[in-house]
């Protein structure tokens, strides 16, 4: 019995820490990758799948940094196209309103669903659990736990996959 209670305590403690806007938690989110169920004629090599998911998960880290510090430059590595444009616009809005937002991803359940025939885009869906926090004038206004299904499209760039579409919907 002690172990579950301790785990719960640790979990709530972590949430409370995030609520007090402690430095970003270094713990890695739990990641589950579902077996491939591709729509489309192009096979996806294991290495490509691993690279796509690695780059996608790193994008969550960039998202937290960029929206949490109101620094659009932190989006450059992992986002492109409309996803980057929208997030950049949000950062400008946040700056104007004097607020920041933190996104701490806790778990991912990722499935690659489409690899376009010409190899120029990969689509995945991800059931994500994350904590989101609104901070105004250095005061944490709220911390919320969110479960959301994300539909994500990544496209290849010189050395990595970048998120081009990043869109949540209810699970």
């Amino acid at each position: 019995m002690r172990t579950p209670v301790l785990m719960l305590c640790l979990l709530l403690g972590a949430v409370a820490g995030f609520g007090d806007e402690q430095p970003a938690v270094d713990e890695q989110p739990a990641v589950r990758v579902e077996p491939l169920d591709l729509s489309g004629p192009r096979p996806l090599a294991d290495q490509t799948q691993q690279a796509v998911i690695r780059d996608y998960l790193e994008a969550w880290h960039s998202l937290d940094g960029a929206l949490g510090q109101n620094r659009p430059d932190l989006l450059n590595t992992d986002f492109t196209g409309s996803a980057k444009d929208n997030l950049t616009s949000t950062i400008h809005q946040q700056t104007a309103l004097g607020v920041r937002a933190r996104y701490q991803d806790l778990s991912h359940d990722v499935r690659v669903v489409f690899y376009s025939p010409e190899g120029l885009s990969v689509q995945l869906v991800d059931n994500v659990e994350y904590n989101v926090q609104l901070i105004a004038q250095e005061k944490v206004l709220t911390t919320q736990r969110v479960h959301e299904r994300y539909v994500v499209v990544l496209t290849p760039s010189e050395v990595r996959w970048r998120v081009r579409v990043f869109q949540g919907e209810p699970e």
Partner: protein
């Protein structure tokens, strides 16, 4: 006694969550992108309301007890949003914005831009369908693909999107020329031009004729297996073998035929080839 610190820790940690879950806000659970909606507040006095998502952030000074109207074209991006009301305490609700089910943009990836005629499933197209606000329309949407324009039979099919994406494969036409490859969703479409060029020659036949300098070789007009002329510039290789020696001449097609002149060696064997296609052989006997 051993459990008291644990209980204290649990209670302490739970406090921020409890504050965030009070409910003086009434928020629609789902809103369509770009549409107007309202948020009901309760209580009295002044407060500040935030609407916050990854793609939109708003801040409003509000009068508690009054509805807060959010005008059309204000919250345009699909995703998850928090509504936070501050003033005395803090109340938080959540809602989602769904894409408008009105295709406005079709991102169309077609491949290749140039290919041989007569290839089964040689052309592929993939689309992502977006609403007027750039949201991926994740509800199933019909996409009509059409390949036309070379005089051959038109190909078309309708495909339902899954999570906003759809794809198809088409055969290249038997006739050379530029084909239009179109993807349509609702009232919007996107077109790519696919250049279809003749395939490999289907056969190669040459004739030989003696002239003053040697043997004049000439191919028949080269065509692919669908009857399309093979483009000028395609190289034909003539080879003359005699007494264990060999002479080779590479000649590009001009006006559909290749011509070359080789020395006249009685007993020589002359052959022609282009790509992987071998032509006929001629055994030169002397004068013809």
């Amino acid at each position: 006694m051993r459990r008291s610190p644990l209980l204290l820790s649990l209670l302490t940690a739970a406090v921020p969550l409890a504050v965030a879950q009070s409910g003086s806000l009434t928020v629609p659970k789902m809103v369509t992108a770009g549409s107007a909606f309202s948020i009901q507040t309760s209580g009295s006095g002044q407060a500040t309301l935030y609407i916050m998502g990854t793609d939109d952030v708003l801040k409003r000074d509000v009068q508690l007890g009054q509805p807060v109207s959010i005008a059309a074209d204000t919250v345009n991006h699909a995703g998850h949003y928090l509504v936070v009301l501050t003033g005395g305490g803090t109340d938080t609700e959540q809602f989602d914005v769904q894409p408008a089910n009105r295709p406005a943009t079709v991102a169309f990836l077609a491949r290749p831009s140039r290919l041989s005629t007569g290839l089964h499933n040689g052309i592929t197209g993939a689309v992502y369908v977006f609403d007027p606000y750039g949201n991926l329309i994740t509800n199933p949407t019909s996409v009509y693909f059409q390949l036309s324009g070379t005089g051959g039979p038109e190909q078309s099919r309708t495909v339902q999107t899954h999570d906003g994406a759809a794809w198809t494969q088409m055969d290249s036409s038997t006739k050379e020329g530029a084909a239009k490859f179109t993807a349509r969703a609702g009232d919007v479409s996107s077109t790519r031009v696919i250049q279809q060029v003749p395939g490999d020659p289907c056969g190669l036949r040459m004739t030989a004729k003696r002239d003053n300098k040697g043997i004049q070789l000439q191919t028949d007009p080269l065509k692919d297996c669908s009857g399309n002329p093979v483009p000028d510039g395609t190289v034909v290789t003539f080879t003359e073998s005699y007494y264990g020696l060999q002479t080779t001449v590479d000649v590009p097609l001009k006006r559909g035929v290749a011509q070359a002149e080789v020395p006249a060696h009685p007993g020589a064997t002359i052959s022609a080839a282009t790509g992987v296609v071998m032509g006929n052989e001629i055994h030169w006997g002397g004068n013809e």
